[in-house]
Structure formats: C-alpha cells, structure tokens
Amino acid sequence: MKSGMILAVLVGLLLATAGITTAAGAIKIGVAGAHSGDLASYGLPSLKAAQLVVKDVNAKGGVNGTPLELLVEDDVCKPEIATNTATKLVSAGVKAVIGHICSGATKAALPIYRDAKVLVISPSATTPGLTQSGEYPNFYRTIAADNTQARTLVDFSLGSLKVKKIAVLHDKGDYGKGLAEYAKTFIEQAGQAEVVLFEGITPGAVDYSAVIQKIKRSGAEAVLFGGYHPEASKIVGQMRQKRLTTLFVSDDGVKDDTFIKVAGKDAEGVYATGPADVSNNPITKEYRDKFKKAEGTDPGAFFDNAVAATLALTNAMVKAGSAEPEAVAKALRGNEVATPFGNIKFDAKGEPVGIGFTIYQVRNGQFVQVH
C-alpha cells in the first residue's frame, strides 16, 4: 500500500516534469493568468485565444521555421502565487509571457520577468502605473489603461466641445473617483480649461438639487461625471428640471442602455465613452468563430484583447526573425499589426496605440459613435 503511494507520487512528479520539458528548439511562450478559482472566467478565454493564434502561427511555419510552444501556468489572480508562476516560467526558459490577467498579480510578477529579460504582454491588466511608472520596460498591454478613459474624455471636452469651464463630479467610488481625479489632472495639465468644481456626490440620495445649484453657480459649461448610470440619470434629470442645459459628459459606467431607458428624454445629447465596437472587424469575427466552433459558446472577457496580444507578439517575433527580447521589443514598437481592434502598435511605454475608448452621444434614444 505504502509503496503504491510512493509510486503514484513518483509518476505524478514525472508527469509534472513532462509538462515542462519540451521539444528541443521550440520557442517557449508562457501563458499566465487565472485558470481556476473565482476569476477563471477572466483567464480562460485568454488562454484559449493564445492557443488558437499559436496554432495558426505554427501551421504557417512558426517563427523562421521554429515552432512556438505554450507553457501554461495558473496564478489564480493572486499576487503571492503569481511570483511563483513567474519564477517557474522563467526557469523553464520562456522568451515571452502572455499575461498576467489581474493587475495585482501582474505587478507582483513583473520584477521577476524584468530581471530575466522576459517580455510580458497582458490582455487585461489596466492599472496605469504598470506602464506609466517606467519601472517595467519589458511590459506591454493590449487593453487601454484605466486613465485612458479620462484622457479620452478630457481631449474630447477640450478639443471637440471646446468648453472652458468644467465641473468634475464623481460618486466617491473607486472607479468614479479615480476617473474624476485623472480627468482633473489632465484638464489642469492641458491648461486650456478650468476645473470650476470638483465634488463627490452621495450615491442613492433622494435629491441632488443642492449640487445642481452649485454647478449652476460655478458657471460650468460641461459636467464631467465619473460613476455609474443610476446617479448619472438622476443628476441629468434634475439638471434639466432646474432648466440647466449644461453639457453632460461621462464614462462607460453610463454608456448603458438602462441609462437611456431611465433618463428618457433627458438622456438626449449626453456624451459617454465606451470601447469602440469591433464586432465587424474580420479578425475579430475569425477568432470569435473559431472559439465558438471549439467551445460551443461565445468567448468571454478579454478574448479579443488576448488574440491581439498573441498576434502582436508572434508578429513581432516573425518580423524580428528571432525570439530575443530586445529584437522583439523593437519590432513591437516599430510595426503595426492587424488585430481584432484594427491596426495597433505600442508606444515607448508599452501602451497600445489604437486600442482605446471612443465617444458616444445619445441621439434619438440610442448611443451613436461620434468620435
């Protein structure tokens, strides 16, 4: 009985090592993310995306005839496990990693990859500091950072709406307040307009007329709101009740059909950011169909982003003619690649150029892309 158990353990160990030992010569790419646990639904579509793209690349002859091979590691989206995952992948000799999924886990793993000079490209980690702090020159992502939305809102307000006085409101939540603070900073940096009011409102309140009188008094030409649609519809509704025609600009927490349903005619003319609609892009269609064929369901969160990440990475390897991180990094920045989001490349910090938010306006009861 006892020897049977030892045998089982030995066999297990053997199998585990077998998973990591690979065909000689193949270029190893790690795929790290949550593949089990609460957040598996965020990680599994990305894994599938990487597998689908790599299969296609290998069918076309890989990188200069060398096939690609994926090493899959689960980090359960936990920072303390992500460091182990990273160490494991690095010691297995990966040249690049697609992942991680969650910002916290990504941040924990990045120093290990940086020291090993491994390229990391995440489909979903949105914390601005990952790229913008400059600490991780080896990091790229194929999703817009959290503050990109604020940037889009501010650029649109200043550039297209040409407003000079802006009232920035938020709902005191992480998402709304974070966005509002970025927006405020960006407006002040641009110097073309003034933030005349910066306030947090209490979500769920029965009446916002005091804040609205304050907006009126501030002389703001536009209200920039960070938060979700229930508060947005109340504020817009009460602004119009008080005969205030100030423009209302908000985020993708408001770009929801419920907003239009609840705010009714008051919703007309409201601007909101949202991701551009990519469902008509042929590459998006191609990979979504492949996923559907293989799994029988629609792909989940970040699938398009992960397809983009894998395409960008493999394309850069092909362009560079090698898998060496420096050459690949140069190719990532210098070449555009066709992805589900259209043609993208990366800026010096590793942010994607071409993936971002676009502005919608409510017209006749529908969100219409205006930007």
């Binding site: 947090g200 109340k234 008080k242 005969r243 009714g264």
Partner: protein, 300 residues
C-alpha cells in the same frame, strides 16, 4: 442671496422628502416603541405599486389628474395592506418579548421585502413616469423650485397637520395616545389595543407609499433598494426631532435636509453626511430625547 434661496429650497425639498417617510417611523415608535426598520420598504413597495398602477392606467388613456389620484389611492391601500400583514406576522407574535427581539425581526422583514421585490420584479433601475404635471405658474421659478418639489412640500405639510389634528381630536387619536401611554391600562378601559396598533401600521405604511410615489416622480427612477438609504435618513431625521413626536419628525427632517443642502452648497457635497451626522450627535448630546422629544422617566 439668490444662491442662498436656491439652497434653501433644495434643503426644504430634501427635508420634506425625509419628513414623508419619518412621519411613519415616528408614529409607530410613538405607539409601541418599536423602530420599524421595514418602514423604508413600505416606501419602496408604494413606489413600485404606483409604477405598476400608473402604467396600467395610462394604457387606458385616463387624464393625468385621474391617474395621479387613483395611483396614490392604490399605492396607499396596497402598502397599507403590507403594513398590516408585516405587523401581524413579524411584530404581534413578539409583542411581549424584550425590545430587541422585534427590532431584529424588523431588520429581517426589511431584508426579506427587498429581496422579495428583487425576485418578483427586477434588480434593475426602472424609469418612473412624471406623475406631477409641470405647472405653468411655476415656470419663472423653475430654476429654484419645480412642480415635484412644491408637491412634496405641500403634501408633507398637509400630512403633518392632518396627523397632529387627528391624534389630538379624534376618537381614534385618543385611543392611540392611550395605547402609547399605557398599554395595559388602555386594554382595561376597553380599547382594542391590537386593532389600534394595526391601524397605526396601516396609516404609517400608506403615508410612506404616498411618499414613495411623490419622491419617485421627483427623481424619475426606482429600484428595489431605494427604501434602505431613504429609510436610514428618515430615521435619522425622526431621532433628531425626537422620535415619537409628530411635529418633531417634520422639524428634524427639515433640519437634516437644510444642513445637507447648505453643507453641499457652501462646503462640499463630499461632506454632507459628515455634517448631517455630526449635527445629530451634537443635538443628542445636549438634548438626548431629540429637538421636540419629551424626556421620559423610566418607570421602575
């Protein structure tokens, strides 16, 4: 000065919104000494009933005033029925238990009703029709006070006066006061205490439902969780004014509403709750029974 008046009116609107709900709280507390945490849910159920009834009525193409009156009646009756049932199920069996027991039962009822509406209706926000028409004579002042603000103000004033007079002058009011003073003695004198308490719940819930209708048409949306925050604020107002006292509930509501409006207007809305609750603490330090509450001596 104009800004001050604008803030004053937004404070009054908030205050009368709180007052509509706080009146029911304070009535129930006055009679049986129970903080009815399910009261906010009566407000929510009233609003949902109003939404359903007004939608159905508007399909039949009735004129707006008729819709408004019928909807208000339906909401009041329906929420009254809920109030009656809740009292029967959750409070009456606990009439003679320690004070904490019905309180917990009330919290349980509140959670139950929220989730019941969530399952029976929806968890989404729903648009609420503007049942109060725009008044032409208000148009020049629209920036300061709207039709719904005015309606809420007038209704809460009327309700307060009616309740005060009713409790002072009618037979029922007398019976209510007797029940509040000494339940056993009232029983001995032939007052049907159970019936009086049931009636108190019915009236309180009906008031909350009217409040629900008015407030929902003011903010234009409802959801199954609106009762919670509104209930907490109204409860604060009732305590501030002296729980158990009807004019106290109204005064407390206005003090709370005005504090919030002026805190928002002159400081920042980030701190409106800080000001409101600091005021509550201050008042309770100096007047533990609230602004108009009577300090009672505990009978041993």
């Amino acid at each position: 000065m104009e800004y001050f008046i604008e803030l004053l009116f937004s404070g009054l609107t908030r205050g009368s919104i709180y007052a509509l709900i706080a009146l029911g709280y304070t009535m129930v507390y006055g009679i049986i000494g129970l903080i009815n945490f399910a009261h906010g849910e009566m407000y929510m159920i009233g609003a949902f009933t109003a939404l359903i009834v007004s939608t159905v009525l508007s399909i039949y193409g009735l004129p707006l005033p008729a819709i408004l009156i019928l909807t208000a009646l339906a909401a009041a009756v329906w929420a009254g029925a809920y109030g009656f049932t809740v009292e029967r199920l959750a409070y009456r069996p606990l009439r003679n238990s320690p004070r904490l027991t019905p309180l917990i039962s009330a919290i349980g009822m509140s959670i139950f009703l929220q989730n019941y509406v969530l399952l029976a209706q929806t968890s989404d926000f729903l648009p609420f029709p503007a049942l109060i028409p725009e008044f032409a004579f208000l148009e020049p002042y629209a920036a300061i006070v709207g039709a719904t603000d005015l309606a809420i103000l007038v209704v809460s004033a009327l309700v307060m006066i009616a309740l005060t007079l009713g409790i002072k002058c009618t037979r029922l009011g007398k019976a209510m006061r007797a029940t509040a003073q000494d339940r056993t003695m009232a029983l001995l004198l032939g007052i049907n205490v159970d019936r009086i308490i049931s009636l108190t719940f019915v009236v309180g819930s009906a008031l909350a439902a009217i409040g629900g209708l008015l407030i929902a048409s003011h903010i234009g949306q409802i959801n199954c969780f609106i009762g919670f925050i509104a209930g907490i604020k109204a409860f604060t107002a009732a305590v501030l004014g002296g729980i158990g006292s009807i004019p106290g509930a109204v005064l407390g509501s206005f003090v709370l509403g005005l504090t919030e409006a002026f805190a928002t207007g002159y400081v920042a809305s980030d701190y409106e709750d800080v000001f409101a609750f600091s005021l509550l603490v201050l008042i309770l330090i100096f007047r533990p029974a609230g602004l108009l509450g009577k300090a009672t001596v505990e009978k041993v």
